[in-house]
Symmetry: C2
DNA sequence: TACATAATGTTATATTATAACAATAACTAA
DNA sequence: TTAGTTATTGTTATAATATAACATTATGTA
C-alpha cells in the first residue's frame, strides 16, 4: 500500500472519526464526536480519544488547545503535527489553520536565549473574524 | 492606592493563590493548587478557578494551554495576558516564558491572508531543555 | 446613605480525559 | 504458516478539569 497516502491506512474507528471532523466547518469536541458516532458503533469515550490521539499523531487532525477541540488538517505542509498555527474568532469561534510560509520559516528557525532548539510548536491567534468585525 | 502596582489590589484569595504560583518553579495545576491552599481556608475548586481567571485576566499569571497549568508572569512587558510565548521541555516539563522582542514584534504585526488582525496570541514551543538534551 | 459592582462561600454537576484489563486484528520474520 | 510482536478494539470504571446556580459579604462610588 502506498505509504504516501496515509488516509488509506486508517482503521475503521479512525476513519469514522476523521470523516466526521473533516466534514465539519468548525472544530469538534471529543464528546460531541462521541454523540455523533454512536450510531456507527463507537460507544465509549476511550474509543474516541484513542482515534483522536492517533489522528493527531499522524497529522490528519490538530487539537486546538485553548478550546479542547479538533480540526482536520488543511495544510499539505504538515503531514505531521509539528508546526501548527491557527486563528480563532473570539465571537463566533471560527477557527482557521494559518498557512504562511513566512511564519513557518520564522518559527521553525526561532531559537531562544538558552539556545534551546524546538522540535514542535503551536500558535493560536485570537481576534475577530471579518464577519464579526462588521457586526 | 497606586494603580500601577496591580499586586496591591489582589484580594485575599487571589493573593494566596498568586503567591503559591509565583513561588513555584514549575507551572501548577488547579487541583494541585487547591490541595495546597486548603489549610488557608480555600476549600472549593471554584474559589481556585475564580482567582485563576482573574489573575490570568490581569496578566499576573498565564495558562499553559497544552498542560492545563498556570505559571506566574515573569515578563514585565505583558501586564495583560495578550501576547504570550513559552518553551516546554517534553521530558522534564520545565516551562519558561520566552521574552524576545523580535518574536513579539513579528507576531504582533502578523496578518493572515484575510487581513484578520489579532488582538491576542499564545505560542507554545516544545522540545528538550538543555539538561534533558544531555541525558 | 444608597446603589452598583466585585468577590466569596457553598453545593452540585458538567466536561474532558485516562487507567486497567481482556480480546481481536494486522504485521513481521523465521 | 506459524509463532511472536505490535497495534487496535471493546468495556467498565474512575480520574482530572471546569462551570452553573444561588445566597452572602465586601468594596467602590455617587
Amino acid at each position: 500500500m502506498n505509504k504516501m497516502h496515509k488516509e488509506h491506512n486508517l482503521t475503521k474507528n479512525q476513519k469514522i472519526i476523521f470523516d466526521l471532523i473533516d466534514k465539519s466547518p468548525q472544530p469538534l469536541k471529543a464528546y460531541s464526536i462521541l454523540y455523533n458516532v454512536q450510531k456507527k458503533g463507537i460507544k465509549a469515550p476511550l474509543q474516541v480519544y484513542r482515534a483522536l490521539d492517533k489522528l493527531v499523531e499522524i497529522g490528519k487532525i490538530h487539537k486546538i488547545e485553548s478550546r479542547n477541540a479538533f480540526i482536520a488538517c488543511h495544510n499539505s505542509n504538515c503531514q505531521v503535527a509539528k508546526a501548527t498555527a491557527f486563528s480563532i474568532c473570539e465571537i463566533c469561534e471560527k477557527v482557521t489553520e494559518i498557512s504562511s510560509a513566512g511564519l513557518s520559516k520564522y518559527l521553525a528557525n526561532f531559537k531562544d536565549k538558552d539556545g534551546m532548539k524546538y522540535s514542535k510548536y503551536n500558535l493560536e491567534f485570537f481576534g475577530l473574524c471579518k464577519k464579526c468585525t462588521l457586526k
